[in-house]
């Protein structure tokens, strides 16, 4: 045997030994996302956006935001058909629908499943979101279709914790206990689509849940594909191999994709708020005049023009617009002259040098290069320390960056955003550290008081006051808000207007259709 036959033999064997996958059905919706692989599809565990994207179509909550919407103002019944609240806001009683069944023959869903699921979401052993449910003192099944929740203290937007997002997704007890640790690779919900198959680095396949309580889905199968390369993902959409694609955060992508025939391009919410967090603990940023100078040197309109008018809009507060409790603020206007004067007044006529740890992720880096150029105009020299993304996340949490550029979206309630970014309990390098990079502590009292305020009007006032104080102290300089770019071919038809979804993927439910 010579070397050629050896190599040929090996090649043939390799070809024949490969794994086969079933061919796509006619009613298959193929979706492509930027990324390499799935981590877990356990809704109480998943933290990656791509995982939440899939979870979106498999689970229900006690309540939900209206299909296609993400605002908590649109909350409507889901598994619970009605609910009541005690006068003190501490006891919540939910009446469940009687026709809800668990996927894959795990039987009808009853109150005990809901109790199991909420306890699972509240336990740090099984949930990444346990902290959100810390106030859930008592979760009980009153009868087969009634659940009562007792709170230790009122929580802001109780119903927001019960939508199918993170801990709010309802997991069936029999499936959860039987599958245990395997649940993340073998999820069972009650939603319109059920998990069918996972091929590592390739796709997750969902099939229609024929027993879905709102009716049998029109689409028979969803193929959720991981296509990491931007260029080839676009080509796959162009060639028709993909029906719906999660796009690039670039205006040019939107423009180019919109020119393809029979294609809808859309920017979905919730919008991420991007801002500069200024470390108030360190000179020269401990001087309010220096922070004001930075705020006046930033040209938000210029940044929006750079990132694209369709994809981004100017920030208007230190929390994203549209969140429960959001109030538009008077942000410092773009005024380089004033910025220079403020710097001189603070004792820095020759300008200042600031250190910033900066990720090399292209979308974030290019934005910061524009900010850097804008600040340089007034003599603020922003010196980058370029690191890869995981290093960036570690170092900004070690207080190593004077200026932290960060983009984020959260459950759309003011409390969560304010708590994580501006409450002094969340300051980095402290025991309760989350993402308070600025060492901001000016609105602690308002954030704290709003958390347990029962009167919704008074609560909103407190949140508005907190935003005013944070803007005044300039813990952070808001830049812009950015949405999620998506495109789909017009075979995909949604029965509802699409504004976005908390899980950052367009809602696909029993009414969504694929037409030829």
């Amino acid at each position: 045997m010579n070397y050629k036959t050896l190599a040929l033999g090996a090649a043939t064997a390799a070809v024949l030994a490969g794994l086969g996958t079933p061919a796509a059905l006619a009613q298959t919706l193929t979706i492509a996302v930027p990324g390499n692989d799935m981590a877990t599809l356990d809704p109480h565990r998943a933290s990656a956006t791509l995982d939440k994207n899939v979870i979106n179509w498999m689970f229900n909550g006690l309540v939900r935001t209206a299909p296609g919407q993400f605002s908590l103002e649109t909350i409507e019944p889901d598994i619970a058909e009605s609910w009541t609240t005690s006068a003190d806001g501490l006891t919540w009683t939910f009446n469940l629908r009687q026709d809800v069944t668990c996927q894959r023959d795990y039987g009808p869903l009853t109150a005990s499943d809901v109790v199991y699921s909420l306890k699972r979401a509240a336990s740090p052993e099984t949930s990444s979101y346990a902290g959100d449910y810390a106030a859930f003192e008592r979760i009980e099944a009153i009868d087969d279709h009634t659940v009562e929740i007792g709170l230790a203290h009122p929580v802001p937007s109780m119903l927001g914790l019960l939508v199918p997002f993170n801990g709010g997704s309802i997991v069936c007890e029999a499936a959860g206990t039987e599958l245990g640790e395997d649940f993340g690779r073998n999820p069972v919900g009650t939603g319109p689509f059920a998990f069918a198959e996972y091929q590592s680095q390739q796709f997750v396949r969902l099939v229609a849940n024929d027993g879905y309580f709102r009716g049998t889905p029109e689409i028979k199968e969803i193929l959720f594909r991981y296509l990491g390369s931007d260029s080839s993902r676009d080509l796959a959409f162009q060639s028709g191999e993909v029906d719906l694609v999660n796009g690039r955060f670039e205006q040019s992508w939107l423009d180019r994709t919109a020119q393809l025939p029979d294609t809808t391009v859309s920017v979905l919410g919730p919008y991420e708020l991007h801002q500069l967090h200024l470390n108030m603990n360190q000179p020269p940023l401990d001087d309010i005049r220096v922070r004001q100078a930075i705020a006046h040197a930033v040209d938000r309109a210029g940044l929006v023009a750079f990132r694209g008018e369709m994809l981004t809009r100017e920030a208007t507060s230190v929390i994203p617009s549209g969140y429960l409790g959001y109030e538009a603020q008077d942000l410092p206007e773009y005024d380089p002259e004033k910025a220079r004067a403020l710097l001189a007044e603070a004792g820095y006529p020759d300008g200042i040098d600031l250190k910033t740890v900066q990720t090399t992720l292209p979308a974030m880096l290019t934005t910061m290069e524009v900010v850097q150029a804008q600040l340089a105009e007034v003599g603020i020299r922003l010196n980058f320390e370029l690191v890869d993304h995981p290093t960036f996340h570690e170092q900004i949490r070690q207080d190593l960056s004077q200026v932290v550029y960060y983009g984020a979206a959260r459950l759309p309630v003011a409390d969560i955003f304010l708590t994580q970014f501006f409450d002094s309990n969340s300051i980095v390098q402290t025991p309760g550290a989350v993402t308070n990079f600025s060492h901001c502590d000016v609105a602690d009292a308002e954030i704290e008081a709003a958390r347990t305020e029962i009167d919704p009007e008074r609560q909103k006032e407190l949140w508005a006051e907190a935003q005013r104080k944070i803007v005044e102290a300039l813990c952070a300089v808001p830049l812009y808000e950015m949405g999620q770019p998506y495109a789909w071919n017009n075979k995909v038809q949604f029965a509802y207007p699409l504004a976005g979804s908390l899980n950052l993927s367009p809602m696909i439910d029993e009414t969504t259709r694929l037409v030829d």
């Binding site: 010579n2 070397y3 050629k4 190599a7 040929l8 090649a11 390799a14 070809v15 030994a17 490969g18 794994l19 086969g20 996958t21 079933p22 061919a23 390499n36 692989d37 981590a39 877990t40 933290s47 990656a48 740090p124 990444s128 902290g131 640790e181 690779r185 091929q199 590592s200 680095q201 390739q202 796709f203 594909r225 296509l227 990491g228 390369s229 260029s231 080839s232 993902r233 080509l235 796959a236 060639s239 191999e241 993909v242 690191v387 890869d388 993304h389 995981p390 290093t391 996340h393 570690e394 170092q395 949490r397 959260r410 994580q420 969340s426 025991p431 309760g432 550290a433 989350v434 993402t435």
Partner: protein, 313 residues
């Protein structure tokens, strides 16, 4: 020969151990933390500390190293820090895809490159020679992700002969070959460029030997001289390059797999690096080292098949 193979395998174990140790410490020197990846950016310092403890990342690094080494010797490569699945299972899931791609690209590269090199050598300093040299230079210079996109544009978008997603959807061997065609061609083009250039120069040297002149003098045909007498004698450097290049080929398969949306080791290692998945990276480094060591051994053994004068001591 058996003794030779055993001795070489012994060296391989030492190499593996050295690589394991190096990898273990180097990836821990890198900043970045897998717990932040797992818990997401909303996680509090307490829950991060809790997870670090559960994953054993809070223990002294020397202790972690001993535990890791002990596990590795028992064949336990640990579980991926991010997905929680056994490393060995994750690797074995995708290894066939990478081997398939690399093997086909290797064969294709040799099949394209060898005749081209011979052709160029026989036509030295004439037009076929110049054309081959320029084309192979192009093949060497174009990065795999550029040539990959060009191939996709031409064959998947304009001509529509092949799919953009070569994700192994096919069930029949024919469908699988269709999936494989473009990525394998992409890798093979680079391979072919190397093989062409080495074959050409090696062939030129052989053609200037006395026995070739003798063969010409006795009236042997040009075809017989080149393909029967000269080719086998010019193969040793070619085999060396193929063996060396196989390692680079597996490296290039990282980019090819990503561009063509194929599963494989490449996507796995990029993901593991971005997520600081220590255990996964360790496992993959061992696999890569093992492949390179085995390929080197195989290359040495092939010498003997080509040239009976080569002896293994």
């Amino acid at each position: 020969m058996l003794g030779f193979v055993l001795r070489r395998l012994g060296f391989a174990v030492v190499t593996l151990l050295a690589v394991l140790t190096l990898v273990f410490f180097v990836i821990r020197i890198l900043p970045g933390d897998p717990t932040v990846v797992i818990l997401g950016d909303q996680a509090s310092a307490q829950s991060i500390a809790l997870l670090r403890e559960r994953m054993g990342l809070d223990q002294p690094i020397a202790l972690q190293y001993l535990q890791f080494l002990g596990g590795a010797l028992r064949g336990d490569w640990g579980t991926s820090l991010v997905s929680g699945r056994p490393v060995i299972q994750e690797v074995l899931n995708v290894l066939p895809h990478t081997l398939e791609l690399t093997a086909v690209a290797l064969v294709l590269g040799v099949v394209l490159g060898l005749p081209a090199g011979v052709w160029a050598a026989v036509n030295r300093n004439r037009i076929p020679d110049y054309v081959t040299r320029v084309v192979s230079l192009l093949g060497l210079s174009a990065p795999a992700f550029v040539s990959g996109i060009v191939l996709l544009l031409v064959f998947a978008i304009v001509l529509r002969w092949f799919p953009v997603i070569s994700g192994g959807q096919g069930t029949t061997p024919l469908e699988r070959l269709r999936d494989l065609a473009l990525p394998a061609l992409n890798l093979a083009l680079i391979m072919a460029a190397y093989v062409t250039r080495v074959t050409r120069s090696s062939m030129l040297e052989v053609l200037s030997q006395d026995y070739v002149r003798t063969a010409m003098a006795k009236g042997a045909s040009g075809f017989a001289i080149v393909w029967r007498h000269a080719l086998r004698n010019c193969l040793i450097p070619v085999v060396t390059v193929v063996g060396l290049y196989l390692g680079i080929l597996i490296g290039n398969s990282v980019l090819t797999e990503i561009v063509f949306n194929r599963p494989g080791l490449g996507k796995l290692i990029v993901g593991a690096l971005n997520q600081r998945d220590y255990t996964m990276l360790q496992g993959m480094m061992v696999i890569y080292t093992l492949i390179v060591v085995l390929v080197n051994l195989a290359t040495d053994l092939v010498y003997g098949l080509i040239d009976p004068r080569v002896q293994y001591k």
